[in-house]
């Protein structure tokens, strides 16, 4: 091999080796320089090197090129300010790897120097090109994967950077796998620390926006739960499942909620279970498919924090009591109170809406509370109960605008949001209306029963009385079935479900979701949603019929009573005179009386009688229409209601449909 040393134009192996050692660090050598076009180290054209050597040189110098690539990346990134903690760690880890490489180069270099000093060309420990190739064989593999990684990581940061490294660590080659896991461990460090701080203290230290929980500082505390914190989806590392990310978010959120909204100083970190589950092993975060240490930590802290939060809500802020209060007052659960209130308000509410005054009504409400079992309720709850008048738009009566109200504030308003309260008011309005129908109908019935006896002596009234009794019982049946449906099939069932879910709830979100579902079910089943607005309108029309019927009945009874009174007077007169041994009546008087009676029958009875028939017919038509709408409703509960109302097919739906189509024509 030393035969070439004499030849000056041929470069010696030692010189090539020296060049190559520089090349390995990305520095141009004497003969071998970096060729930008080819993106590789190439021996310069003037140097005369045999093809074999050129070949081997290019094999060795690949390391140099790869090194340059990685180096360029770390240099560029460390200049970038917004690269973030994760990125910094990544660069540091890469540099660490490069240092290892420097070490190798240094060893090689000293070997080469030694050879040169000793002037040995043959013998043990001599560095040759082949040995260089052997030495660079392992580093080449590492550098290759680093360079490939660096290529993919361009422009990524935070969680997504970690995701990429994680995907690269899924490799069958143990060397590469170890290398990537080493990098991953470094990169995950800041994420891990942020998670720990977040789930234990609720503090978010993320000046580079690289964590997967983001916080909006502009959001006020009353909306903290719903709006302040959110998941930054792009930054969730792929080794953290979505569900876990959600739990991490929730845990920190709960802590913040506890501290800032509930002003509670519970520290979950002190708990034994939490202490036991705590871990500082960073790698557990990306080895979740083989061990559950990290998951257990997250799970435990999540559970403890949520439990603490729910407990505070329950014990200090009496969440369940408020829920029950809403059920009792706004959803008419407290029957005696509602009935009493209705009794007290009945006269006021029949007046025009404009003549109602809040202070009067509040007084009435107070009376109603004092007079019923409601007085035993917690004073805090009763304080929140109030009267509210909906906006008056024209000629409504008091019934339409009256509403109970319940004031919520503080932590519980996170569950009972203003949107929820509006839904409560709408439901109250519906229930109140239905209740009023029941109230009105029982008043009619009372009157009918009382008057039936009085009017027995007026045979001309038999028909109209019979008809109106029939109509009244039809209405009562309808309203009672409606009430049954609302009370038992809607409210009770949903309430039961709600309680079950609230008791099972693991975190506040579950409670909120359960409550929302409760409201949604009621809204849907009480026909208050958009889909059923047509049916609701029909129901309103039916209710209106009841009110019309009530008014007409009242008028009719007034008149009949007046007539009855006149007749009684007449009879009494007659008796008085007979007692005085006079003629009971004179002919003229009798004629006057008979005319009056005739007129009464002609004018009042006949008109009222036909009015009742017309009313009954239109009522029947409306109920039929309502039923056929119900039967085709998508909600099964409502289909059952239709069956319940029409169990014996009293309302022949086909006939009704025909009638409707006829009237439309």
């Amino acid at each position: 091999p030393n035969k070439k040393s004499g030849d000056s134009s041929i470069i010696s192996e030692a010189a090539l080796i020296k060049d190559l050692i520089y090349n390995l660090q990305g520095i141009d050598g004497k003969y071998i320089k970096f060729d930008v076009n080819a993106a590789a180290f190439r021996p310069s054209k003037i140097a005369d090197i045999s093809t074999s050597r050129k070949d081997i040189v290019s094999k060795i110098s690949e390391c140099g090129w790869l090194y340059l690539k990685v180096r360029k990346y770390t240099d560029l990134r460390s200049l970038e300010k917004s690269f973030g903690l994760v990125g910094q760690c990544f660069c540091a880890a890469l540099n660490n790897e490069l240092t290892e490489f420097y070490h190798l180069v240094a060893v090689l270099d000293s070997q080469a120097l030694q050879d040169e000093d000793q002037g040995v060309t043959v013998g043990e420990g001599v560095l040759t090109l082949r040995r260089l190739l052997l030495w660079s064989y392992e580093p080449l593999v590492r550098l290759r994967s680093l360079a490939a990684l660096v290529d993919v990581c361009q422009g990524k940061k935070g969680g997504s950077l970690a995701s990429i490294i994680y995907s690269y660590s899924q490799h069958g080659d143990v060397t590469i796998k170890c290398l990537m896991e080493y990098l991953l461990m470094k990169v995950v460090q800041p994420i891990f620390v942020t998670i720990i701080r977040w789930i234990y203290e609720g503090e978010l230290q993320d000046s580079y926006n690289e964590f997967f929980v983001s916080s909006d500082p502009t959001v006020k505390e009353d909306k903290l739960w719903h709006e302040k914190y959110s998941l930054r989806k792009s930054m969730i590392p792929s080794f953290i499942p979505m569900e876990q990310a959600r739990k991490i978010l929730l845990t920190g959120k709960s802590i913040n909620f506890l501290h800032h909204v509930c002003h509670d100083e519970t520290n979950v970190r002190e708990l034994e279970a939490v202490k036991l589950a705590e871990t500082h092993q960073v790698e557990t975060i990306f080895r979740q498919d083989s061990n559950q240490i990290f998951d257990r930590m997250v799970e435990t802290v999540y559970e403890e924090t949520s439990t603490a939060l729910l407990e505070v809500l329950q014990k200090r802020y009496k969440f369940l009591d408020h829920l029950q209060a809403l059920r009792r007052y706004l959803l008419l659960g407290q029957g005696d109170f509602i009935r009493h209130l209705m009794d007290l308000l009945h006269d006021d509410l029949s007046k025009s809406a404009t003549s109602l005054y809040l202070h009067n009504l509040s007084g009435v409400l107070e009376t109603a509370i004092r007079g019923t079992n409601a007085q035993f309720d917690d004073s805090d709850i009763l304080k929140r109960l109030d009267v509210r008048l909906l906006e008056v738009s024209g000629n409504e009566v008091g019934w339409d605008v009256f509403s109970l109200d319940y004031r919520v504030d503080g932590p519980i308003s996170t569950v009972f949001t203003p949107e929820c309260m509006i839904i409560y008011l709408r439901i109250f309005n519906f229930l109140w209306r239905a209740k009023r129908m029941e109230y009105a109908l029982s008043a009619i019935w009372r009157e009918q029963v009382a008057n039936a006896r009085l009017l027995r002596n007026m045979p001309e009234l038999t028909e109209i009385l019979h008809n109106s009794h029939m109509l009244c019982s039809q209405m009562i049946h309808f309203v009672q079935q409606m009430q049954y449906y609302i009370n038992f099939e809607v409210l009770e069932c949903s309430w039961e479900q709600l309680l079950l879910k609230v008791n099972e709830a693991k975190d506040l979100d579950h409670v909120i979701a359960a409550h929302q579902e409760f409201l949604d079910t009621i809204t849907c089943r009480c026909l208050l949603d958009v889909e059923s607005s047509k049916i609701l309108a029909e129901l309103r029309a039916i209710f209106d019929q009841i009110i019309i019927f009530q008014l007409s009945q009242r008028k009719f009874y007034e008149k009949t009573k007046h007539e009855l009174h006149l007749r009684d007077l007449f009879e009494e007169n007659m008796k008085k005179r007979t007692a005085l041994n006079e003629w009971g009546i004179t002919e003229a008087e009798e004629e006057v009386e008979m005319n009056r009676r005739k007129e009464f029958i002609e004018k009042e009875v006949k008109v009222s009688s036909s009015a009742v028939i017309v009313l009954a017919n239109s009522y029947r038509l409306m109920v039929g229409g309502f039923l056929s709408e119900l039967a085709s409703h998508s909600d099964q509960g409502l289909t059952y209601l239709s069956f319940r109302l029409n169990f014996n097919e009293h309302y022949n739906l086909k006939e009704v449909e025909n009638l409707i189509s006829k009237t439309e024509r």
Partner: protein
Amino acid sequence: VREIGNNDQIFPTVKSSTSIQEQEIIEDILFIMEGVTGRHIKEIPLSENYGRRDFNIDPSIDPMNKELIKRMLPLCSDYSTVVRFIEEKQAFEYGLVNQAVGAAMRSLINDYLVLICQLEHQSREGQLTLQKLWYYMQPTIRTMEILASISNAINQGECTGGAVLSLLYEKTHKHTGDKRAQDLCSFLMQSANKPYFDILEKWIFKGAIVDTYAEFMIEERQSLVKERLQNDYNDDYWEQHYIICRDRVPVFLERQAGLILNTGKYLNVVRLCGEHFQSTPSKPFVYTDNERELASRINEAYAYASGLLLNMLLEKQRLMDRLRSIKHYFLLNQGDFIVQFMDLAEEELRKNMNDIQESRLEALLELSLRTSAANIDQFKDDVRPELLKYDLVSQIFKIASIETKREKEYAIEHSDENLTGLEAFAFNYVVKWPVSLVLNKKVSIIYHPSFFIHLTKDFTSTWVTSKRVKSNDWEKYTAAFALRQRMLNFVHNLQYYMLLEVIEPNWHQLEKAISSAKNIDDVLEAHNEFLSSSMRDCMLTNPELLSMIHKLMVVCVTYSNCMQKALKSGSARGSSHTIEFQNTISKFDDNFSALLVRLLDKVLDFSLCSMTDLKLVNILHRLDFNGFYQDQLEARHG
């Protein structure tokens, strides 16, 4: 190896003596061995991707040396193949196993490079001759040959994952005689198995598949959702949500494949139900060539998983209670409920199918559930009425024919427009995951031998009406009543046989089997066994018997209708009608007797053919206990 011919590669002219030439040749060979072009030996560019590397040899080399070089060159070709293999398989798409194989090979290549450096060292000291080189190369040639052949086999088969493992396994066994080669192969095997066994471990201990590159033997099919189990006839979810990909199963796990599949599946079910479990291997789960140990490890995992699932189903999901509840409704165990329901719903069910309001039926069902002893059943809310599009017999045929050659025959749905509710009615039972693993739709539809409910009912009402007949009319009706009595006898005995002689003992066996079951497959098997033996003993699986029974039923029903009509209208009063009436009765009689005798005959035949079906003979004795039909039977045979 090719001789230089028309190739235009230029070799430097050699003028030096042979000994220098030998040094140069050695230098060249060392280069070529590392995949670097030499001065006198040059590689020919590859024509295809996985092609074998060939070399050109300077023709001026002394022919004896050339011969020796030619023998060395295969090593270089093999080296080239292996290196290309390693580099290529590094990419992600080839999967973890290939990467691991590549990594293992790379460590061998490293040794190879060390050897070259040593040879170079010797050569520089002037101690290496071509002969010596040839001698030193020997072991490496063999190694490289094996590596190259493995690489080629993997490349050709485009193998990934399990297939690579099978290939390596076969190679290992091919080289049983050659210790070194076998060691080499088992070294590769060990490394290649690592990632695969990681996946396997997660599957059999955690029930999760982490298989990014589709290498694992089990594949998850996302398209099958568990909710489908309730409304589809087949138990696809359980059978096909996870499937074994035969080409990915390593040969040495072939026998355990089913076990592995089930282990993971069980764990998966438990996980889907939100249960937490801790199943960890007692020691690291790695590949060993001791197959028995491997099998025992897998068995251990399987035993744990199946125990876990079984426990969950029995304790948490109360499978036994469910089954009992189903028995109430489908196997007519809860007599008062059935009677109550039939009383309530009969009027509705008599209508044409299209006129029946399902919501009304549902309300009636609910009413009867709540007013009978079924009220204490905690699962009563899961019972639903259902109206099928075809009557029960064709439905039973459909079930019985599943997976037999007759399947197509009955596959066409007899969509009959004129069905009455009575014929089309069936109970439906809402089964939720994971109990639906055991009680899926296909199974629960088998639970329908309720087709004679209305029959008994009919007869009872006929009997009630016939009580009204005045004593002086008795004579006219004697024949009719006798026939009615025989039919009643037939129906009652059939019912008795089915309920008490078939279902009850089988049920008892089922309960016993489930209580002693060790894993979920035992439960499934016991349940299937229960169903199929009940079906068989109830004569539901045999089309001939079934159609005969069905015909008998039809005769009975028509007869009962006819009787009721006759009794109500009193048409039998007029003398002209009497004869007509009696003719009708005797026609019915003939028809019924003929069918019944044929049925008994068939049963007799069956019991003679197969001695095992002992239960079936009971029906014969029961229906013909006093030898009433004996003569007719003998007449048929005679």
